[in-house]
Symmetry: C2
Subunit: 393 residues, 2 copies
């Protein structure tokens, strides 16, 4: 049997990162390649106690079918948590629980994009989102990243073009893969442009609560007053990713269509995960919980940065993130990046080649992504030393 | 903001059934409308004990990211369970865990269908599947159901047409919504036609283990020797639907593409659900467990059939299922079906109007679907009496 695949899925390759994740099972590999949260931050005891209590008091609530939009108690708790510093749920908004925020990328592009429609993204950006957009027929238009967010001239050139993009995909806080935070000025300017050209924004904020330096910056969603911004809030990085729970917030007309997409995909998100998270949010002093996480990420990030300063070649550059999980390293021209990454793996250190994150992964690229949340301190010290030695070879 | 939706999602309406499910929250309504398994069959104590034990011994295995294809231990346990009577996993097959079998409908049609491509379905068929196919651009071609499965002449006419369909969607056991079981002869004939015209079959088997009458019939998948059949096995009806776990089995080349679709959708299925189910399958005498379920379903089905015989008008017809959860009732021409269903709801009994299950829901239809797994015995007796009275009005 010779299978003929649809046009929209044909061009999407298996994620380079998830292939690297499989390699992580090699216990000898020091992986800076993944994007896993630090497992020592998982609130195991609390989740266990809550789960047990739910089984004792209302087991059917987690075992029977639920509704597509999500468990009411979880939605309420999540909205309260997400609204504690700013208004991300507007009067005109709908809210839907999804099985991880990856589903938000898939459902939004499925509902909005015909084949050949444009989606604007940061260049580089999160590979999983780019693949979701492509798998729904979208054509990616990457906008260069600068130290404070995307280049505004390039953005306006695209928005004012003949073919109006369907939406702009942004990760304003400690972006994946660069670790860059978009400044308030740029968030405002981007929103103004989106409004001027009436193009939607998908604001992805998986890392916002993992800030360990400098002050929080308002989300673009909080600036919105006409339903232009869809907001993706993940609980993977602040509770646990294996539970696969996120929340999609956006104009109710748009959310109604995305609810149909979810109905035809997984009907509803795992009911146990929603119930346990609802209770966790309600019973936990989240500020204390987040401070603990932030301290872990800060320590790991700073250790990695210090070691890089000691070990990496001085003609190598890297970002200094205010939070999140990633550092973006750019090699000098004298070093061939793909060759460097290959040699690193041979020396048992995994990083992700930067070209994987671009709208066109065949473009020449001198950068790679390093993750600091997953490795131990010992692995950070040893792995950075190995990478540093390879730069000096 | 005026949202412009993609062509493929525009025509898909919110599921009529899921709207009815919301109505079920009205405690006065007797619902024969849903498709929920009987909650008294959920193995609560076992699931609780296993869940607790996993939290105690290996919490990170359920809290950290997993791999897209699914948890190895669950896949192994599931394959062993599904293979106990027949060979559904062939040498050339791949296996992927999905978040409910609804995802299999979505991923397969996403990977195979361009806009306007044909998908053949039983007429009537499972609404969630039909919507998933439509949401990926497929055009449905319904084949009339007969007492022993679809009409073969109609099927061959479609398969031999100018536009070759991408696949044939079938629920051979106790079909949703009709309760009809496709005979072995028809399964063989359908497979022979699929082979002759080289068209894939998606065999959906959510209810197979809920057989309480007559002997099991081999799956079409077990007859396949060249990778033409994709098999959807759900654990929603035999363990618990809120956990959202199913298994997709099909040719490895096809599964590799569907893995990409899942990667860009929810990355992987909830890890807790997979781990708990793996242990449940390994530790449980599944034949004993299934016998218990079958006895519950048999009792409820027989009670409903007996009450219908007593209460329904003699010019009314219905199917007698060998298992599953549904009975398909056809009203005489003198009764207007949509009007009847509306009056039933006014009298606090919910059933699903049959037209919802057709490739074209505007076609005139005299049938409705009744579910016997969710209501209590008292509700069955009372609800059937109310419906009966309405027939005699």
């Amino acid at each position: 049997m010779n299978f003929e695949f649809s046009n929209r899925i044909s061009g999407v390759k298996a994620s380079a990162i998830r292939e690297i994740l499989k390699m992580m099972n090699d216990p000898e590999i020091i992986s800076f390649g993944g994007g896993n949260p630090a497992s020592e931050t998982f609130p195991v005891e609390q989740l266990k106690r809550i789960s047990d209590d739910i089984f004792n008091t209302c087991p059917n609530s987690i075992l029977e079918y639920g509704i597509t939009e999500g468990d009411g108690s979880f939605k309420k708790a999540a909205i309260e948590f997400l609204s504690r510093h700013e208004t991300v749920v507007k009067d005109y908004d709908g809210v839907m629980v999804t099985s991880g925020s990856q589903q938000i990328m898939d459902f939004l592009s499925k509902c909005l994009c015909n084949e050949g429609d444009l989606v604007v993204c940061e260049n580089p950006s999160f590979l999983g989102a780019l693949n979701a957009f492509k798998s729904n027929g979208a054509k990616l238009v990457g906008i260069d990243m600068e130290d404070d967010g995307i280049n505004l001239e390039q953005l306006e050139a695209v928005l004012s073009g003949v073919q109006k993009p369907k939406f702009i995909y942004l990760i304003p806080n400690f972006q994946n893969p660069t670790g860059i935070t978009t400044s308030l000025e740029k968030r405002q300017a981007i929103y103004t442009l989106a409004k001027k050209y009436q193009v939607l924004i998908l604001e992805d904020n998986p890392y916002g609560d993992l800030r360990f330096r400098n002050d929080a910056i308002p989300s673009i969603k909080s600036l919105d007053d006409e339903g232009l911004v869809v907001y993706a809030a993940s609980f993977s990085k602040i509770i646990a990713p294996g539970m696969r729970v996120a929340v999609m917030i956006g104009h109710q007309d748009l959310l109604a269509k995305c609810t149909v997409a979810k109905q035809t995909n997984d009907v509803h998100t795992n009911a146990w995960a929603q119930s346990v998270m609802a209770r966790f949010l309600n019973e936990t002093d989240m500020e204390v919980h987040l401070k603990k996480l932030q301290a872990v990420y800060e320590q790991k990030c700073n250790l990695m940065l210090e070691e890089m300063k000691k070990q990496f070649s001085p003609d190598c550059k890297w970002t200094i993130p205010d939070g999140g999980m990633f550092i973006w390293v750019t090699l000098p021209e004298r070093i061939d990046m793909p060759e460097f990454v290959k040699r690193a793996v041979e020396h048992k250190v995994a990083v992700v080649p930067g070209n994987a994150f671009y709208d066109d992964d065949n473009k020449p690229c001198q950068s790679f992504r390093m993750n600091f949340s997953t490795p131990t301190n010992e692995q950070i010290i040893k792995g950075v030393a190995i990478l540093g030695a390879l730069m000096h070879d």
